[in-house]
């Protein structure tokens, strides 16, 4: 029996099912509980209702923090996308030795444990008067998300045919026109996907925000954090579901953008 193909096929099936349960069950359970009619976190819920979503949208604490998160996410993602794409373009045209060093520096916020980044930025921003301000949070989020844009766009530029741009230049197009009419359309799917990445990272970010935010300027993840540490009711499940659906939507948008451009979805 040990050597039979059936045994191994069955074992692989069991492994697959267990993996799917392990990775998905927590999210599915949170999703279901967010529609619970019970007054506390219990599973399976005795009945269904939308009371927690109602509570979430009628409670100013949640709406205010959700809006704060968006106010941080939108400018941070745009800035990270512009700066990251510009840096990727410049690096793709540079001497490889220098490019490697500069790239390592720009990617550092992704490699350095986020608790270190958080403590360092908090310490300095407090001196600069950026602690507890929207600007401080936006700046910090640009730093955290820029590496994602840089690496996504760079991967695209590595397979981009530079001769197309040269051809445009030879036909008399000034550099800016060549960039806007030839390069940008060709790399736009990766720029889009870098921006979606930046949006998701910013919206879900907790550690740096925990240091930099005050009760007055507080993103939704920090509010969730302090509620989870206190007593929890299913409103948090509703918030968690909103966060999860946001990520899922971004993933879907990314998949569509990639399919349009004819590249492989996923990785």
């Amino acid at each position: 029996m040990f050597y039979s193909a059936k045994f191994w096929g069955g074992l692989r099936g069991i492994i697959n099912v267990m993996l799917v349960v392990y990775m998905l069950a927590p999210l599915v359970i949170i999703f279901v509980i967010s529609f619970s009619s019970a007054l506390y976190l219990t599973f399976p819920p005795p009945g269904l209702s939308l009371q927690w979503y109602e509570k979430m949208f009628s409670n100013p604490t949640w709406t205010r923090t959700l809006v704060t998160s968006l106010k941080i996410m939108v400018p941070a993602a745009i800035a990270a996308t512009v700066l990251g794409t510009a840096a990727a373009l410049a690096l793709s045209r540079m001497d490889s030795k220098w490019a490697l060093a500069v790239r390592a520096v720009l990617m550092a916020p992704l490699v350095v444990p986020v608790i270190i980044t958080a403590a360092a930025i908090f310490g300095v921003f407090r001196i600069w008067g950026l602690y507890g301000s929207l600007w401080g949070l936006i700046l910090a989020h640009v730093i955290l998300t820029l590496p994602y844009v840089l690496s996504t766009v760079s991967a695209n530029l590595a397979v981009f045919d530079k001769r197309l741009e040269d051809a445009a230049a030879n036909c008399g197009a000034p550099p800016w026109i060549a960039f806007r009419r030839v390069t940008l359309p060709l790399i736009s799917p990766s720029v889009m996907s870098g921006m979606l990445f930046a949006m998701v990272i910013s919206f879900d970010e907790l550690v740096v925000s925990l240091f930099l935010s005050t009760p007055r300027v507080r993103p939704v993840t920090v509010q969730m954090w302090s509620n989870i540490k206190g007593d929890t009711d299913p409103t948090i499940a509703a918030i968690a579901t909103v966060l999860f659906l946001f990520s899922l939507l971004a993933l879907l948008a990314d998949g569509i953008a990639r399919r349009r451009s004819g590249r492989e979805p996923g990785l």
Partner: protein
Amino acid sequence: MTAGNRTLWLLIPAVLLIGVCFLYPVSWLLQRSVSEPVWGLQNYIAIFSKSIYLGVLWNTVAIAGATTILCALIGFPVAYSMVHARPWIRKLLIFVVLIPFWTSILVRSFAWLVILQRGGIINDILVGIGMIAEPLDIVYNRFGVLLGMVQVLLPFMVFPLYSVMARIDGSFFRAATNLGATPVRAFFRVYLPLCLPGLGTGAMLVFIIALGYFITPALLGGRGDIMIAQLIFERIDEFGDWPLASALAIVLLIGTGLLFAIIKGVSKLRRGRI
């Protein structure tokens, strides 16, 4: 003038931003760690001599190590199963393993909290079927932390393994068994050694990332059983003890930096040999 020089200015905003708002703050931490209360290494000496701090360092390494081993034990069969699955199942598995990249750690840690707590689903079921009389304490301890961390870090083990396994020629294994090796022996002497590069990369990645973890251990871990990131947060948030917190951060930074250098060195060596 080359094309490279013409576009160099595009680099300036990003480099300026990272320089001013990231590199400078980190060097500021380094400076505080050696300059307060007086210049010297006293904060580092405290970390490596006082038993409370040593205990946290040990916890950090132990939890990261256990996470790595569990990720390897789970990731190996998962990667194998992915390589040998039908295309649509493989796509599904890749999507499932990638979910951690797209959903917040906070949301997933909270989900585990709901499942594992005393009045949670697992305890309800176990009490319901009469397997246990009293709810078990399966969260706010090591078990909860490991369950949560392995889930988040699994992709970093699975994908390096997957890319190595996908390139292994199945005929090696058949050759070994045809030559009389038992499947177990062929696995350990032929298949496993071929997987080692992927296993090594994955293990290092998981270990390094786990060392700096904060959210999962803070939500699912026990009060006395904390990791270095939690200690840094606590020192700053509760005590404003910047010198010690800075020194702890620099210790973590150097530790992860050294491990990354080892990965780079090993992969360079390996490339040089082939």
